[in-house]
Amino acid sequence: MSTKSISHSAQLAKRRLLKAAVTGGAALWAGQGYKLFAAAKPDEQPVTSAVRWGLLVNVSQCGDGCDDCVTACQAENGWGSGSSDEQQSNALQVAQWMRKLDVHNPLDGSTFSLPLMCQHCDSAPCVDVCPTGASFKRADGIVLVDRHTCIGCRYCMMACPYKARSFVHEPLFDQRAHQPRGKGCVESCTLCAHRVDKGKQPACVEACPHGAMVFGDVNDPNSEISQQLAKVSSRELRKNLGLNAGVRYAGIPVV
């Protein structure tokens, strides 16, 4: 058996194991041919699968050394510099809802920079493995954690292919009213669901001074994100896992 086919069968085996347990098919996101959706949603109206929220990050526009998106996320959601909490936790224990990575391009030795956060996977491994169902995906594709049923087992952190989840290691006091956090629970980027539901953009998108991020409904062919996705070539990170991530990256060199 060749290396490739062993590798493929390993992934396939894991997928099958998961699929065997997972019910319901995934709606494929082609980025075109979807219907229009009005962004603002009244509070009493439930989220609907007519929308699939997505985020497109253009790596070639992302500023080197710039972390305005991360700072905006912290201020909006009350973690990191946006909160006076987590003073006792070490650098690897504090929350990291979003982080900037400098990536080495093996082709020309250059580096490029990109923000990494929860990719809001359609076939989200964190949702599949969560024993209590605390990790869940909304109908509109946003993956969240129900802080009332999370028992802090951290299996979702083991399962996340992007290490996008954080565990709260100490008691918290300085929190945002719209973003309750708690010791012993797991959390991650919510795609600013509280803002999105009010028709606003996620804080990171709004804060990016380079216009490197586009947010919108990928089910809407007229949305900016759908049009950008149709125009530029983009990819999802770790595509081989077949997660159909809601976050896409443009401008990553092909190696």
Binding site: T3, S7, A10, K14, L101, G133, C153, K163, P171
Partner: protein
């Protein structure tokens, strides 16, 4: 006080104990060694409980775990105890399922230890939860897609099966059912280790676990580790309660344990070897097999040298004696813990290819670097507390239930033969 003596097992034939009626009894309380052991185990259990309470109050900030190494020493020990629970049933299975009657006197101890090991492992996992106070949530909200959920059911089922099996062995009228209960336990223990292996096997994200090979590795390892723990308890029983474990039985068990340790190592090597062939998994296999990382030290020194080579040498070189058996079993246990460190901690320490095809040169989260982990006092106490609970439950079981065979006085011919064997092994 002499515990209630129950004449239970029918006449069984055993070299040296031919046609002897098996009588079981509870441990009497005038064994100083028993009281001391109980006190130590109770103290360890209480220490684990206190630290769990403190951790619940302060949070996991007092541990060495973080957002990279999310499962640390408590999980290493808990998974080790849980898979060992399956292996601790070896002796009971050999007697009930494979009909080898000379192991029957120790079948009850085997089942009791299996149940205690599982409870100890489970206690560690539960107390390490971020929200252990939400246990009721875990028991009332099920996501049946989750392997964790399957395992909650498998673990609860295992305890129920062990209790049923123990009842069958203990109740005179149920003796005919003990082989059926033995079969059920035999199947359940395989399911248990399969389920535990799958916790890691299904992790798409981690390029460390090859699903179809990690399960057999867990099964083989469980048989070896559980038997080693059983041997340690058996030797304690022999030494502290003046019971005689026939040399033939001990020798067979130690030889079996050596073979199982070898099989476990081969299956783990196969897992890492196949990982070497898989492009995405190669980086982890290299960290394990190439002697250039802390992970490989745990593998070569821990699992290979201490956990396999040493016990094989001790167990296979001559007829079993208490010293070699104790030493060999301890090394297998240490090797087993090393295997868990490599798979559980090593699997998290290896850089995750979050941007596939590229290496990360800078990140506030130390992506792209091989991480290290060292547990703090809280993890040590919680883990040791779990082990204390296992032994406490096992000792308590021996005290309140007729688990141990009454002090067996070997027949004169056996005394003579054992003396001969000892003389041969000494010469």
């Amino acid at each position: 006080m002499l515990g209630c003596v129950m004449p239970v097992f029918p006449l069984f034939s055993m070299k040296g104990f031919t046609q002897q009626r098996m009588v079981y009894q509870e441990l009497s309380d005038h064994h100083g060694a028993y009281t001391l052991a109980m006190l130590i185990c109770a103290a360890l259990t209480v220490a684990g409980g206190v630290v769990a309470y403190y951790m619940h109050h302060r949070g996991h900030v007092i541990t060495g775990m973080d957002n990279h190494i999310v499962w640390g020493l408590p999980h290493v020990v808990a998974v080790f105890l849980i898979v060992s629970a399956s292996g601790a049933l070896n002796v009971a299975s050999i007697s009930s399922v494979f009909g080898k009657n000379n192991y029957a006197p120790w079948a009850r101890l085997s089942v009791l230890l299996a149940a205690a090991l599982l409870l100890g492992g489970l206690a560690i996992i539960l107390l390490d939860l971020g929200r252990p106070d939400r246990l009721i949530v875990a028991l009332t909200h099920y996501n049946f897609k989750s392997v964790f959920t399957w395992n909650i059911l498998l673990y609860s089922g295992f305890i129920a099966v062990c209790l049923l099996y123990l009842m069958a062995l203990l109740t005179p009228n149920w003796q005919t059912h003990s082989s059926k209960a033995g079969w059920l336990a035999f199947i359940w223990r395989l399911l248990l280790t399969t389920g535990t292996g799958l916790i890691f096997g299904v992790l798409l994200a981690r390029n460390a676990y090859f699903p179809w090979l990690i399960v057999p590795a867990f099964i083989a390892a469980s048989l070896s580790f559980g038997l080693a723990l059983f041997l340690l308890v058996l030797l304690w029983v022999q030494r502290s309660t003046a019971r005689v474990v026939p040399v033939t039985v001990l020798s067979r068990l130690t030889r079996l344990n050596a073979k199982l340790a070898l099989i476990a190592l081969v299956s783990v090597l196969l897992h890492h070897g196949v990982n070497m062939l898989v492009e995405e998994n190669r980086s982890f296999a290299r960290l394990v097999l190439w002697p250039n990382s802390w992970i490989s030290v745990w593998f070569w020194l821990g699992q290979v040298l201490v956990g396999t080579a040493l016990p094989c040498w001790l167990f296979l070189k001559s007829t079993a004696n208490a010293r070699n058996t104790t030493l060999g079993a301890i090394t297998i246990v240490l090797g087993g813990l090393a295997m868990m460190v490599v798979l559980i901690i090593g699997g998290q320490a290896v850089p995750m290819p979050v941007v596939d095809g590229f290496s990360i040169v800078n990140s506030s989260f130390q992506d792209g670097t091989v991480l290290s982990y060292w547990p703090k006092l809280a993890e040590w106490l919680l883990s040791v507390g779990g082990v204390g609970l296992v032994l406490f439950l096992a000792l308590l079981g021996m005290r309140v239930l007729p688990i141990l065979p009454q002090r067996i006085k070997p027949m004169p011919n056996v005394v003579k033969r054992n003396a001969d064997v000892d003389a041969i092994s000494k010469s």
